[in-house]
Symmetry: C2
Subunit: 453 residues, 2 copies
Amino acid sequence: MNLREFDAYVERHAAPFIADVAEFCALPSVAAERRHLPETADWTCQRLEKAGFRTQKFAVGDSPSAIWAEMGEGPRTLLFYNHYDVQPAEPLDLWESDPFVLTEREGCLYARGVADDKADLLSRLHAVEAWRATQGKLPLRVRWLIEGEEEVGSVHLAEIVARHGQLWKADGCVWEGSGRDEEERPLIYCGVRGMLYIELHVRTLERDLHSMLGGVVPNALWRLIGALSCLRGPEGRVAVEGMRERVRPFNEAEREALSRLPFDAEKRAASWGAPRLVRGLDGQEALEELLNQPTANIAGLWGGYSGPGAKTVIPATAHAKMDFRLVPDLTADEAFRLIAEHLRRHGFDDVEVVRLSGLDPARTPVDHPVVAMAAHAWEDLGAAQPARYPTMPATGPACIVINQLGVPTVMTGGVSWPGDRIHSPNENIREADYYTAVRYWGRYMARFAAHSL
Amino acid sequence: MNLREFDAYVERHAAPFIADVAEFCALPSVAAERRHLPETADWTCQRLEKAGFRTQKFAVGDSPSAIWAEMGEGPRTLLFYNHYDVQPAEPLDLWESDPFVLTEREGCLYARGVADDKADLLSRLHAVEAWRATQGKLPLRVRWLIEGEEEVGSVHLAEIVARHGQLWKADGCVWEGSGRDEEERPLIYCGVRGMLYIELHVRTLERDLHSMLGGVVPNALWRLIGALSCLRGPEGRVAVEGMRERVRPFNEAEREALSRLPFDAEKRAASWGAPRLVRGLDGQEALEELLNQPTANIAGLWGGYSGPGAKTVIPATAHAKMDFRLVPDLTADEAFRLIAEHLRRHGFDDVEVVRLSGLDPARTPVDHPVVAMAAHAWEDLGAAQPARYPTMPATGPACIVINQLGVPTVMTGGVSWPGDRIHSPNENIREADYYTAVRYWGRYMARFAAHSL
């Protein structure tokens, strides 16, 4: 593989690359505000077409459009997943420059969406253009799935993929995101945890009562605390019957990958602003808890009086929001069923359980060729040994591609770094990482085309 | 005792009595807003002086004034307790007439403060005037303690009484409030439960974290739930070591009084808007729980995200407000110490316990002469057999007079009734109850003067 000319092209085109990034970032495609989404979808299609892709848009009802794009031929098809929407820019006063004007400061490029996920998308597009300009036609078929509501939970993606999935079939998929860790190790993730998000609602009285009756009438907060407490064991682990039983232990390859992963509990806790990890977790054990166990998190709880001073009241209602992270083979549907059943079995039939959203866990084997190639492409660039995680601790719509489309998927080659501030003011990428990413995708495409999957 | 002329005077003076009530209620003496308090204290003193009382005002710093008043001579001294402040009138749109314009509708008189506590105060004053007009000089010494911040917790009363207590010494005290129950039985209460009001604060992290870390870092809400749960037993009773042990069981006289008290759990639950009482409580057992057990009530709890939709966050902080009702011999100081110690003993040293307020429980024996006279005065009027409660389930500053001043105290003869809506829009009294109250105080003074205490 000789990509010297490819690399020279990348070096010569730094200015037009960054001009593209600036133009893309100037579009305030905030999904939460449904702002500028059709214009940004159009801009994306036009830019893809200019590079030689065929494109098509798909929506469900009035959802933002998902984009299909395709170029090239060959026995192998590589799927790129990206999104053209961004998080809201607020709070605006914390930005040091206009969030929708790409601004360079000390080697970094600042704009809302630059790290998540616009530079990511363009680095792949620029790699395709560099390839065609220096190597001739693409050595494989590239397909693209680009959605416009990733930042609000990919609400319609599963349905769009269910309707038009054939268009996005591929031998492997590279997801958005990833980047480098604190030690500049490239990060490779092979999956996502799932998540079930629910609300619990309790009503014990028609109306709030004077607390002098506290000993004889039921308080909704005490009732809710009872229900919550039965969902979690004294050690802080999920106590819902049937949930932990469904955890598929890491296999040998995953365990081997895990054993190479750095995890210093003290350092991590400090970086998160936590005094310590629970149960004195450290090293492999902590990582396994983070990556391959379900959680029962209370994201919010409210009931009664929370103003200043004393109000002597028995709350009639109480409410909680909870998210449960899920790992194979525990699906969101199954988790919901088990939680409802568990509450019923423990006498909490009066607790209303409302499902807000659910995404399944999904993984590609850590020793799958799409993962091996991800590591090799980093080696091609002389990067540090990548850290290969069996899964991210977080959740995302990758499960739709992995489980529903059945396409092995890896997160690699992104432009994120520990200081990128995604979702926060002053989101940024390091400019040098951008050119590395373009060069990375040249290597990845070459390896993907050559490898028999 | 012949009070026929007294009663005739009351009948003749209905119009000027109600004019006084209207004038008093026109003063918007809202303690929470510190509105019109000096003007109302002055009005009260002037009205008392017009009736022949000597008066004096006492304050601590810039507190609202407490009023001392005195008239009459004799071997016996009777203390009246009342307050001239009222609750806020809000929400104003729910009032059917101006809250500060006394308005008659279908036999009821509507105004903020009419039931709590302005008519109460004036009914006693009018009884004194009726006595002097028809019987000559008072047969006893009447003293008065009238405060201006009862509705905000009687913040300075204990200190004012500590400084000037001698002025209010008496052989017995009649408190504000009381009235009739649903069956028109006059209510007589011989004490109050105490109350400790605290806040619990927990911080487990420097800042909220992404909930993907839910399995490895401590969630403040889970921590707070742990702390709360150890304060209460599975049966819903206080589990703080040492608290229930300090409960002094009802004595024979109290138990006898209790046995005559009506308590139909189903009816009560329905009137409170509760589906049922806890643990199937009913009858004597329910009454004893309500009157002679401490409680652990959560008045409010909050932490994390409570807005619409899903936010995946681990809350760094969590907070609760709790009130504990107290019974003899469990003081507020002792309860606070026991709770803090209990949390420490159960490993919750990190939970901050903040004391907002505390009032001790206090009781006068149910067979004390001041109580017996309260019942006999009702008999003099031919009323239904009174319901004599060893204590109210609620809390109030009566403990300052009973414990600190050492004056036996009874709640009786008030103008309240089940439909009086005190603290709510459309507060009212039944006009007929007003005249009964004036006649009641004539009987009570006569009996108090004649009885050897």
